[in-house]
């Protein structure tokens, strides 16, 4: 367990590299530029377990543009495009 999370800079999960581990700080759907409305995107992210305090790890990346990414969110693995992952702010 690292306790450096408080001091690490906040960044969107959409920019994280393979192997990155962190904790979700907050959701910010406006940053994502997704085709979904802000509320819809936020709801769906929460429904897939992206809530504040959840531990995330970027497990895999796709071939083209290293997109989409497979993210471990606590106990489950979710595939998501980087565009939508921009809404998840981690540190």
């Amino acid at each position: 367990m690292t306790d450096t999370n408080d001091t690490r800079p906040h960044m969107p999960l959409g920019l994280a590299q393979r192997g990155y581990t962190g904790v979700i700080q907050h959701l910010s759907a406006r940053e994502a530029g997704s085709a979904l409305s802000d509320i819809e995107l936020e709801s769906r992210l929460i429904e897939l377990g992206f809530v504040e305090g959840a531990r995330v790890e970027v497990l895999h990346e796709g071939l083209v543009g290293r997109d989409p990414i497979a993210v471990r969110v606590d106990s489950i693995t979710i595939a998501v495009r980087r565009r939508e992952a921009m809404a998840v702010i981690v540190a």
Binding site: A35, E40, L63, R66, T77, E84
Partner: protein, 623 residues
């Protein structure tokens, strides 16, 4: 006193093992249909509890919430709330959870509780959780949630005993008056609060192991590797097609000789005449020539179901998302398109996993371009008759190469069409998000797979027994009447209605090299593409006698030029004439216009491709 039928509903997130629980409870006592007005598959099954209570159980589509943003979720919501038209309100809702992965289900459950329906939490796959060192304090969980919790191992014999016992207990004291529903769509902050509450309950009642499933991690290290993963995917597809074309052959040969023997028996026992001709040419060789493809259909569904149950399909979507995105397709379209290789109908129905309307529409429009199993008979027949079985470059079989080329042509045209749709028609829309759970790998369960294959094989045989049978009777009738006048020297079919229709259409099809016999065969192909083979068989059999029916490939080789054969292959890459596919498109898009668009564009492509192929072939001296 006979107690009324008890109505259960299965609710759960995708990948919670709902369907294997459903199969374990009901076995093959299942009815598959559609909900009225929508195309979501409605699966109902029946079983009897240990105390003899008759139970009906409905397997609702997997969902993460009751918000109803897709047809699947709307059905689940309306069903549980008792708002679904023509449906009985469930007496008891079984909320199914994957015991190794409770987070999302517990949140869904907290939302479901607000509907006021009597409910039970079923901790499914409890054995896998135990093996992984996950312990659940079942009593405490039940207390925290305020409802009964029962463990189950759907894939093991007797693994649902606890659930059956509980069903009896609950049904005995089921309150007549259900609580009123206080459910309404959750706001973002409520959703967040619910997930927090779920996480708190899980923290109190469940002890998780430090590490995730190591097998899944190990397999994914290879299977989701950016390059290695695509190699694996290609290999899987290769083995799949190899199996469908090579391994199915012995079984198909066996079926074929069975039907041949049956035909000969009829010929030997019945006197010459109309009845003999009807049974032998119309019924046995007609329907038989379609049923022969049962082994291939079983194999392709075996692969699709295995990959789905294993958990690979979501990975395939992950790998293909950006690659298909280049052609304007969504990663989730991969599964429907892959299913379309078996048949466009389940493929088009599977597009409901795509919740963006326009992504879904594009996928529906191109799904019929994937080479479905109904084209295999046509391809096989023409290839074996016209393409020499020699090796090229020393090791590749030419016939196999042509077959591969036809598949590749189908895929390539699908990508081009999709790109054109994106470019010209649906230009103004931003790409829909791709968000998908990658479930832990699971060993597929034989019984579940067997039930899945059984229902599909049954559908195919019922179709062969009804639609295809009646089309074959019609073709036989058209090809046999009116009878030739006494003393006529030409083959009997020259005088028939079929010849009249075919000859009327011939001028239209002559530019692509089709004769009137092909024109006749294309018409019943409307019912099902594979019927064209049987229809050709019937037409040439009545024209040329019994030997022709048995050796249709050789007959074609003498009657058609190579250019005509190639033109026919090119036509069948697109083959617009499949009435059931068109009917499904009409139903899925809810619009006659999109059905007409599909038919027209495929017809134009088929005609253009055949025209080109025929003329190039003739120019090269194959006329």
């Amino acid at each position: 006193m006979e107690l009324p039928l008890l109505h259960l509903a299965l609710v759960g997130t995708p990948n919670s093992g709902k369907t294997s629980l459903f199969n374990a409870l009901t076995g093959s006592r299942q009815k598959v249909a559609n909900y009225p007005g929508v195309t979501v598959e409605r699966k109902e099954g029946f079983f009897v509890t240990p105390l003899g209570r008759q139970v009906s159980v409905v397997d609702l589509p997997g969902t993460y919430s009751l918000r109803g943003r897709s047809p699947d979720e709307e059905i689940t919501r309306d069903f549980v709330l008792g708002k679904a038209s023509g449906e009985t309100v469930p007496d008891l809702v079984l909320c199914v959870a994957d015991s190794t992965n409770l987070r999302l289900t517990i949140r869904l459950l907290l939302e479901l509780k607000r509907t006021g329906r009597p409910m039970v939490l079923v901790l499914n796959m409890f054995d896998i959780a135990a093996r992984r060192g996950i312990t659940v304090d079942v009593e405490r969980l039940a207390k925290e949630l305020g409802l009964p919790v029962v463990t189950s191992i759907a894939v093991r014999r007797g693994g649902t005993a606890n659930l059956l016992k509980l069903t009896d207990e609950i049904s005995a004291k089921l309150a007549a008056e259900a609580e009123a529903s206080s459910w309404r769509a959750l706001s973002v902050s409520e959703l967040r609060a619910t997930q927090r509450e779920a996480d708190r309950i899980i923290a109190d009642c469940v002890s998780l192991p430090a590490r995730p499933d190591t097998w899944t991690a190990r397999i994914d290290a290879v299977v989701l590797h950016p390059v290695g993963g695509l190699v694996v995917l290609t290999l899987i597809l290769f083995v799949m097609f190899q199996a469908v074309f090579a391994w199915a052959q012995p079984a198909m040969d066996l079926l074929k000789s069975g039907f041949d023997a049956l035909g000969e028996l009829v010929q030997a026992t019945l006197p010459d005449g109309l009845l003999q001709s009807f049974l032998q040419n119309g019924v046995i060789s007609g329907v038989g020539s379609v049923i022969v493809f049962l082994p291939q259909i079983i194999l392709i569904f075996l692969f699709i179901l295995l990959l789905e149950d294993f958990g690979y399909m979501a990975r395939a979507a992950f790998l293909m998302d950006r690659i298909m995105g280049g052609a304007g397709l969504h990663g989730r379209a991969f599964i429907p398109l892959l299913s379309s290789f078996a048949c466009a109908i389940p493929g088009i129905m599977a597009t409901r996993v795509i919740d963006n309307k326009r992504d879904r529409l594009t996928t529906i429009l191109i799904a019929p371009l994937m080479t479905c199993s109904a084209r295999i008979p046509v391809y096989t027949l023409i290839i074996s008759a016209f393409i020499p079985a020699k090796d090229v470059w020393g090791f590749i079989n030419l016939q196999g190469l042509v077959m591969f080329g036809l598949y590749a042509a189908g895929i390539a045209s699908a990508l081009v069409v999709s790109f054109l749709i994106k470019f010209f028609m649906l230009r103004d829309f931003a790409p829909a998000p791709f968000m998908l759970e990658l479930p832990d790998y699971k060993m597929p369960r034989l019984k579940s797979i067997a039930i899945g294959i059984y229902t599909r094989a049954k559908m195919f045989l019922v179709r062969a027994g009804t639609t295809i049978f009646s089309m074959m009777v019609l073709i036989w009738f058209l090809a046999s009447f009116p009878q030739p006048p006494a003393g006529a020297t030409e083959p009997a079919i020259e005088f028939s209605l079929a010849a009249m229709i075919g000859k009327a259409l011939e001028p239209l099809l002559a530019p692509v090299g089709f004769n009137w016999q092909i024109a006749v065969a294309l018409i019943p192909g409307m019912a099902a593409r594979e019927v064209a083979v049987a229809a050709l068989g019937t037409v040439y059999a009545i024209e040329g006698g019994k030997e022709a029916a048995e050796q249709i490939g050789q007959v074609l080789a003498t009657k058609w030029s190579l250019a005509t054969a190639l033109s026919m292959l090119a036509w069948y890459i697109f083959a617009p004439q499949c009435a059931s596919t068109l009917a499904v498109i009409r139903r899925e898009t809810g619009s006659w216009a999109w059905m007409a668009v599909t038919f027209t564009y495929m017809l134009v492509l088929a005609y253009a491709a055949s025209l080109l192929t025929y003329n190039v072939a003739v120019a090269l001296g194959a006329g």
